[in-house]
């Protein structure tokens, strides 16, 4: 869509625009490029010619996994695994619950529905960090500290409102005819949901998965508090302990950071469009 008039906006303005946009791209991307390229340089001279990329003297010595063990002997791959497991569990359960709830909100009439919706919106504004203490106590009491589910359950609770509202918006737009036909055949709500809606809802399912993956994978505070054992720490937490113990050795430090952001970068490479669409879908109807 054009905001400019042909006359006043010749080549010069367009060029200027592109230049500014490119400058900002450089600004956003250079730190990461520096990170990755430096991680392939030996620690010793890492700050010399920071922006050079000497193809001949690149090394992967920083990526030696031996260097990644914290002093407790825990390998960073364990941190990766923990993050992956927690994220997976949270995603699966959250999607299941949010879909059901979203469907109910969109299609089933029951008293107090609007109160629920309002309630959900309010819930999204609560500072969850402030809940860390009682949650710590609660999780401890039910014996789920250092347990994947101990982290997954709060995660699900936190993202439930948002995901449900996404699902609700989707199901509201779901074509009625199919559902009506099924109802006429005598299907109850649950049957309709599982046999008919689910198979066709791959769109919203993937949106929920994608949008929440980032949140779960990157979360720090709750993981820090609930996963205390070295063997249970997630990636973000493990990374911090790594920093505490090895702050001075920059090569491996940068290498670890690179590895840590690699999964999300790959994820983003593949799903950027879906991610952006999923996030903005709800806000636009306002």
């Amino acid at each position: 869509m054009a905001l400019y008039r042909r006359k006043e906006n010749g080549i010069f303005n367009k060029l200027l625009l592109q230049m500014i946009l490119i400058i900002w791209v450089i600004f956003q991307v250079v730190p990461i490029l520096w990170l990755v390229s430096s991680s392939f340089k030996p620690s010793v001279g890492i700050m010399n010619n920071p922006f050079s990329f000497p193809l001949k003297s690149l090394t992967i010595e920083n990526y030696d996994f031996q260097k990644f063990k914290t002093f407790a002997g825990i390998d960073i791959s364990i941190f990766f695994k923990n993050s992956a497991v927690v994220t997976l569990i949270s995603l699966i359960l959250l999607t299941a619950v949010a879909l059901l709830a979203g469907y109910a909100l969109a299609r089933i009439r029951f008293p107090g529905k609007n109160i629920f919706i309002f309630f959900f919106i309010v819930l999204m504004g609560i500072p969850i960090h402030a809940l860390i203490i009682p949650l710590y106590y609660l999780i401890g009491k039910i014996g789920l500290l250092n347990n994947y589910f101990g982290l997954a359950f709060p995660y699900i609770a936190f993202r439930f409102s948002f995901s449900t509202l996404l699902a609700q918006a989707y199901f509201k737009q779901y074509p009625n005819e199919i559902v009506e036909a099924a109802k006429m055949d005598g299907c109850g709500h649950l049957r309709i949901f599982f046999s008919i809606i689910m198979p066709g809802s791959i769109g919203i399912i993937s949106t929920i998965l994608i949008v929440n993956f980032i949140q779960f994978w990157n979360e720090f505070l709750f993981a820090l508090v609930i996963m205390r054992d070295n063997a249970a720490k997630t990636l973000t937490v493990g990374l911090m302990s790594f920093k505490g113990e090895r702050a001075t050795d920059w090569g491996p430090m940068l290498a670890v950071i690179t590895l840590a952001i690699l999964p999300t970068l790959l994820f983003y490479l593949i799903f950027s469009r879906n991610l952006i669409k999923g996030l903005t879908a709800g806000a636009i109807k306002g």
Partner: protein, 282 residues
């Protein structure tokens, strides 16, 4: 429906109440709960040296980051929306930093701002700028500014995609009509685009205010609240008091303060945007 509500009840609703209650007790993380009434509040409001710094910082942080990300995000969205080629390319790279986890990102920026790090090294190479070198994260006033800037760097893309999506929903015809009436680009932006995006603005602003108010990760990872507690925010103090000093009662006071401020933000938002009426009507 039910399982979801159960999660929320157990993991959110109850903790909220417990948090408030806990602020009235002494608790060391184990053992007894001793009721101490308002003593914790007094301790925090009167004898906690860092409370007001943390409160001030949290508020400044949330407002600065919101202004920064919303302002920049809007400007970028406007520029992209001017029908530049490769707009998807720009959108891709502008949103990229957003998905990167705060912790590794913060650690990266620590390296960049390290006394022997990238920034100082670059300044060294450019003659005339050597004197600008400093310990960026080691000087009380500067450290906080740096953290704010990094957070803006991190999340500008987030606000931008919302503005962009909103703008792309605006119909061409409105602009055409304005063009025919002789409106300049700036006029079009301020009189057409911005007003039409009013809803997006208000949602984004309140989201940013509340999210950035809860800041913890980036401060913890970059400075732990230092140097000399100059970058403390409510989140870091809460964590420190609860999990390093085992003062759960005091920490809960911080939690309550966070709730109250969030409620203030939310009420302000509902007032300003008139959303309360809309929600209640539907």
């Amino acid at each position: 429906m039910l399982p979801g509500m159960l999660f929320i009840l157990v993991f959110i609703a109850i903790p909220i109440i417990t948090s408030i209650m806990l602020s009235f007790f002494n608790w060391k993380g184990y053992g007894n709960f001793d009721f101490v009434g308002l003593k914790n509040y007094l301790k925090v409001f009167i004898s906690d040296r860092y409370f007001y710094t943390a409160l001030k910082n949290s508020i400044i942080f949330s407002i600065s980051v919101t202004i920064g990300t919303v302002g920049l995000g809007f400007i970028l969205a406007v520029m992209i929306d001017l029908k530049v080629k490769f707009w998807k390319f720009y959108r891709f790279f502008y949103f990229l930093p957003v998905v990167i986890s705060t912790i590794p990102l913060a650690l990266l920026w620590v390296q960049i701002f390290h006394p022997y790090g990238l920034l100082n090294n670059l300044l060294l190479e450019v003659t005339g700028l050597e004197s600008l070198q400093r310990s960026w994260l080691g000087e009380p006033n500067i450290a906080f500014v740096i953290i704010i800037l990094v957070d803006i760097w991190h999340y500008t893309g987030f606000t931008m995609i919302f503005f962009l999506a909103g703008m792309q929903n605006i119909e061409e015809d409105i602009y055409e009509a304005a063009k025919l009436d002789g409106a300049t680009t700036f006029q079009r932006i301020f009189k057409i685009t911005a007003p039409l995006l009013k809803n997006v603005f208000s949602i984004i602003i309140i989201l940013q205010l509340i999210f950035s108010f809860q800041v913890f990760d980036i401060v913890y990872a970059m400075t732990r609240g230092g140097p000399f507690h100059s970058t403390e925010v409510l989140g870091t103090r809460l964590y420190q008091l609860a999990f390093s000093e085992q003062q759960f009662g005091l920490a809960s006071v911080y939690a309550v303060v966070m709730f109250i401020v969030s409620i203030i933000y939310a009420v302000f938002y509902i007032r300003v945007s008139g959303y309360g009426k809309v929600a209640l009507q539907s």
